[in-house]
């Protein structure tokens, strides 16, 4: 149960990118999990070659991932968004990106599980009779910090507020003197940068293989939809709900059913949303 709560904090970190890019910008970036895994592998390589702490790598690589995100968005914009053909082809584009990233990692690093080592992994602290592994606690705390940071970014900074505006009213944005495309580029970049750190957290919690990204597709989108598209606070709440639900499921039915939980929550969340073509 406690593990579920901690997992929730981590899941929030992982889902922030989707919450931002899909929830606010309405871009169906299904490649997000692949970027997270890319972050995991970056952390692995740095850890293995230089002994760098995973989370530190995650932080260091955020600018790199930001640029990567900006480039990907520009490509997407030029090829699809500008021509008004986002739907079918944009989706296929992102799937292609997901695929290419995953397979490239397979080619380079094979399909063995990779993990990182850090001083705190394997240790735990005792809080009120419950043993909490640092392996889970640290990512959860970092995840919470990320969530708070993103929330502050969106509500307090100029660019953050511009992103909120772009999700609601492009005209208002123009009147603010900002270029919607530039704002979206920044937001997309931030979303991918978040993946860098999230990936580092992921590999801290558990070993990864290139196909691990697919486990997270359902989770990320379930959390984003359940939390209310684009609400950062909602993302956190939904993430915790999912984390707890998964651990309960895992305790009673075994770990392999945890993915069914996120899928089930995704379907339920979709069913409960207002229906209709114009509904959002």
């Amino acid at each position: 149960m406690v593990a579920g709560l901690l997992l929730g904090g981590f899941y929030a970190a992982v889902s922030l990118g989707v919450s931002l890019i899909f929830g606010l910008l309405d871009i169906a970036n299904i490649a997000q999990p692949a970027f997270v895994i890319l972050g995991s592998y970056a952390a692995y390589v740095m850890n293995r070659s230089f002994g760098l702490d995973a989370i530190l790598t995650g932080l260091l690589f955020t600018p790199v991932f930001y640029v990567l995100g900006a480039v990907v968005y520009r490509l997407y914009y030029e090829s699809f968004e500008r021509r008004g053909e986002e739907s079918l082809r944009g989706l296929v584009f992102f799937f292609g990106v997901l695929f290419i990233i995953e397979v490239s990692l397979s080619l380079k690093y094979g399909v063995d599980y990779r993990l990182v080592e850090a001083a705190y992994i394997g240790k735990s602290i005792d809080l009120g009779g419950v043993g909490i592994a640092f392996r889970l606690l640290v990512p959860c705390l970092v995840g919470l910090a990320m969530t708070l940071a993103l929330h502050l970014f969106l509500s307090r900074t100029f660019y953050g507020r511009a992103v909120m505006a772009v999700s609601q009213d492009r005209l208002a944005l123009r009147l603010m003197g900002a270029d919607p495309v530039r704002i979206k580029t920044i937001a997309f970049g931030v979303g991918i940068a978040a993946a860098s750190l999230a990936g580092a957290l992921l590999i801290t919690i558990a070993p990864v293989v290139p196909s691990t990204d697919r486990d997270y597709i359902g989770r990320m989108f379930a959390i984003t939809v359940l939390g209310g598209m684009g609400s950062i606070a909602g993302t956190l709440v939904a993430a915790v709900i999912l984390g707890v639900a998964e651990s309960l499921m895992s305790t009673f039915f075994g770990p392999s059913w945890s993915l069914a939980v996120s899928f089930g929550i995704l379907l339920v969340a979709l069913a409960v949303r207002p229906a209709g073509l114009l509904g959002r």
Binding site: A28, A260, L277
Partner: protein
């Protein structure tokens, strides 16, 4: 009417050619590879009925394919049912899956359907892994029935797949040219306008999803007999997901011709390549080609040909 009769004759001719090829008992590799390519003709055609005609992207092709395969495994284990029954059952079950997923998500924007299908494969794979009766994660050996026509069971399966691909393409062509196809095209072009012009969009979408699911299940049903050892990793292989997208996208999504061209071209290329490059490299190349086509030539080969001919 003349046109329908002609189509029927062409279809029968192709099936006849396939049977002839099977009877000739050429190099067995032809049948092994031919089966895979024809399987992809069915898969690509099935995908395109929903993806190309209606504009709804299914990323979960492995789920539907594997469900057809595992339905067959279940029936083989429990009743030793003959191949035609396996095929019908596989189609039925996958069709129901399509209907179910469609019913849950098609009232919403298309992207939610796609996301649901993306998550679907993993979930279904997890469930199959936990189901010992069909082999679980270890897999299951399946014994082919004895005394197959043409001497070898693989050759027989090849002939069966010729028939199935003709059926699939005929179904796709029929839909494309009917009022259903026109309605699907309208909803693909602009769903809101289509609905307001009297097109029952939800019903047509459910129809397309179900037919697509049926054909994918049909493609998967003979799979256990083809591989003889069925395990989740191969049945749910990512190959199916990316090829089901790439083949129609490369060939062209607006007509039945595109998936066939894409499947034959890409399928043959992959069969030739498996001996020279690793399967991951193969997937990587397919991924790159897919992205290249979707960015640069979204109308596929059919579209390019049309443009060259000056339409």
């Amino acid at each position: 009417m003349a046109r329908s009769t002609r189509t029927l004759l062409v279809g029968l001719a192709v099936v006849g050619a396939g049977i002839l090829l099977a009877a000739l008992r050429v190099n067995p590799y032809v049948y092994f590879a031919g089966y895979v390519i024809l399987q992809y003709v069915v898969i690509a055609t099935a995908w395109n009925i929903l993806g190309g005609y209606a504009g709804y992207v299914n990323f979960g092709t492995p789920a539907f394919f594997a469900l057809g395969a595992y339905t067959a495994v279940f029936l083989i284990q429990s009743t030793r049912a003959p191949l035609p029954v396996l095929i019908l059952a596989g189609g039925l079950v996958s069709g129901l899956l399509g209907l179910g997923i469609g019913y849950l998500t098609l009232r919403l924007r298309g992207v939610f359907f796609s996301i649901a299908t993306l998550a679907l494969s993993i979930v279904l794979q997890t469930m199959i892994i936990n189901w010992e009766y069909v082999g679980g994660s270890r897999g299951l050996s399946v014994i082919r029935p004895s005394g197959p026509p043409f001497g070898s069971y693989v050759t027989f399966l090849f002939a069966v797949m010729v028939l199935l691909s003709v059926v699939a393409v005929t179904v796709a062509r029929f839909i494309e040219r009917s009022w259903v196809g026109r309605g699907l095209a309208a909803l693909r072009d602009n769903e809101e306008a289509a609905e307001c012009m009297g097109v029952p969009t939800l019903r047509l979408k459910l129809f397309a999803t179900t037919v697509s699911g049926v054909l994918l299940g049909v493609a998967g049903a003979p799979f256990p007999y083809y591989v003889t050892f069925v395990e989740p990793t191969s049945a749910f292989n990512l190959d199916y997901a990316v090829n089901a997208l790439a083949m129609p996208m490369i060939g062209g999504t607006t007509s039945w011709v595109g998936p066939v061209i894409g499947a034959v071209l890409l399928g043959t290329a992959q069969q030739l390549a498996t001996v020279t490059i690793s399967s991951e490299m193969n997937l990587f190349i397919v991924g790159v080609v897919l992205v290249a086509f979707v960015v640069l030539a979204p109308e596929g080969i059919v579209g390019l040909v049309r443009r060259v001919r000056g339409r």
